[in-house]
Symmetry: C2
Subunit: 327 residues, 2 copies
């Protein structure tokens, strides 16, 4: 591959910024433009590069090989991916698991009509974790698998805390239960409830004079978010929150414990320990942008997932080099 | 996929037996015949199924969808894979890393001519470990990766021990150095010598009256095999060897520690803990036999590696089911 892959970024939150940074780590790629719904001129001062209003995207047909869509799964991507997949090869991190089949169908239709390749739902979960679940289940058809998340910041749960009356600011960490992980690594295959797999740790800044007991009760009893978990609530100062809890770490494990045909126990595990969740997700998106570009050049079209794409397409190296250096 | 995949096994050592057992765990597969260089009638009493001399393989064209080749990399596979790839789709675990490029070229020629698909060098290393090295390097282009093997039995090193004068029997374990693994998991990226990564533990049964000090010296000073490692030699009885050291455990880790564009530390790890190395390798071969069958039906031909094959091809489930259940 000698040609440089020209990439566009749609949306410039933490993920979009991570993509911009990741592109600089990949010499076979070049950032063509960033697209935003905000005022592009103002945003250009932050991005430091060509910044356009999203409505100008169409003018970049032929100038951009792959658009990396960095919006959210709730409202941005369901609208943007089908629209842009008609015009460009795209990559996104759509992560509402239950809605993936419908999303796939809609994006596939758009990409088939546009003659483009659209890689949906990549990142680390869905993404690398999904790949490992599939790989491990295919190799060990008799067994159990377990996915643990954390220790990491959950944006949704942190938002839920901040909506509690009397709470000024807060962060929630999802924490996998170490004893359970150790038992699985040791060969046990327990049936686990939600409560047994993860704990939730909250760091909360209370408003002055707020009733801390009432806040704690509101959090730990909150249905869907906290009621099914062992939840701890720690009150801290605003300074401590800023100093110790402003990062976006995350990670987790996929473990499969199975038995092969002769009865032997076999355990496979994939894990991530990420200091920055958005930067890592961005790096996955960028590797899959390379794959989208290649698939398109091979004549493919339509929606694709991590299950459809040969791993070799993620690397800038040739198949020959990969066989020699990495196999 | 409604049709049953008909599989042949070539070679019936530990790996071939493991493949026979693995096929029974996969309802979409069926064992058609086992091929051997030994006396097929005698072997049939052990296999309990159709057992043929290898020279009869050609008679199975059209009756076998995929041949799984279970011979060794030193002499069996370099001869058998190109021969059989002209006639059948094949899968093998050729693992002489330095010779993979030449082996690929030769097998590719044969499979192109035969119009077949030949998946070479699969298993766990080369195989799953290679896939993780590729995946992690593509996502984290700036970083270091580390492969550790063990704790597990090395057949080559065990054979080397048994050739030392005065040694009646023995087993060698490759042991990864835990402190080094811990430091990498903690975020360090050390440059490591061979000695710093793995230890070698030998369990030896000495012949009566043998000079144990001389045996120990011969082992720990043996070039290529032991001289570059910290090696311990333990003398044990024949009974203890049989009771405690007759299994074939193995495993290891691939760890990549890198930094994304914003400077954040990110660590990805894949690990295996296998009670039976040959049974697990056999299970990988069987999953890739399914992939070979599918690739052939899609119109592909030639030699393929784990880098060329979409993960979805490993599973008996449809792409739709995989997206719904595992993504």
């Amino acid at each position: 591959m000698t040609s440089i892959i020209k990439v566009g970024i749609v949306g410039y939150g933490n993920l979009g910024k991570g993509v911009q940074q990741a592109i600089e780590q990949n010499p076979d790629m070049e950032l063509a433009a960033i697209f935003t719904r905000r005022d592009p001129q103002q945003l250009a001062e932050i991005t430091g590069t060509v910044t356009e209003h999203i409505s100008a995207a169409e003018q970049y047909i032929g100038k951009i090989d792959v658009m990396i869509l960095c919006g959210g799964s709730a409202t941005d991507l369901p609208e943007q991916t089908p629209q842009l997949a008609r015009l460009f090869n795209t990559v996104d991190s759509f992560d509402t698991h239950a809605k993936i089949p419908d999303f796939f169908a809609e994006v596939d239709k758009a990409a088939q009509e546009g003659g483009t390749v659209s890689v949906i739902s990549t990142g680390w979960d869905p993404g690398m974790f999904s790949m490992n679940r599939l790989l491990m289940q295919s190799i060990l058809p008799e067994g159990e698998d377990y996915t643990f998340w954390g220790t990491g910041v959950s944006q949704g749960h942190s938002d839920a805390i901040r909506r509690v009356p009397g709470v000024k600011a807060g962060v929630q960490y999802t924490v996998p239960v170490q004893e359970v992980i150790d038992s699985i690594r040791g060969g046990e295959t327990p049936q686990l409830t939600t409560r047994e797999k993860h704990r939730r740790e909250c760091y909360v800044v209370a408003e002055e004079g707020a009733d801390r007991e009432a806040i704690t009760r509101s959090i730990v009893e909150m249905p869907n978010y906290f009621a099914d978990y062992d939840t701890t609530v720690n009150f801290i100062s605003e300074d401590e929150l800023a100093a110790k809890h402003s990062g976006m770490p995350h990670g987790g494990f996929v473990i499969r414990s199975g038995r092969t045909g002769g009865g032997s126990k076999q355990i496979a595990e994939f894990g991530l320990k990420l200091d920055s969740n958005p930067e890592f997700t961005a790096s996955v998106l960028v590797a899959y942008a390379r794959a989208a570009f290649r698939l398109k050049h091979e004549g493919h079209k339509g929606a694709k997932t991590v299950f459809d794409i040969p791993l070799g397409h993620l690397s800038p190296k040739s198949a020959e080099t990969l066989r020699r250096e990495l196999l």
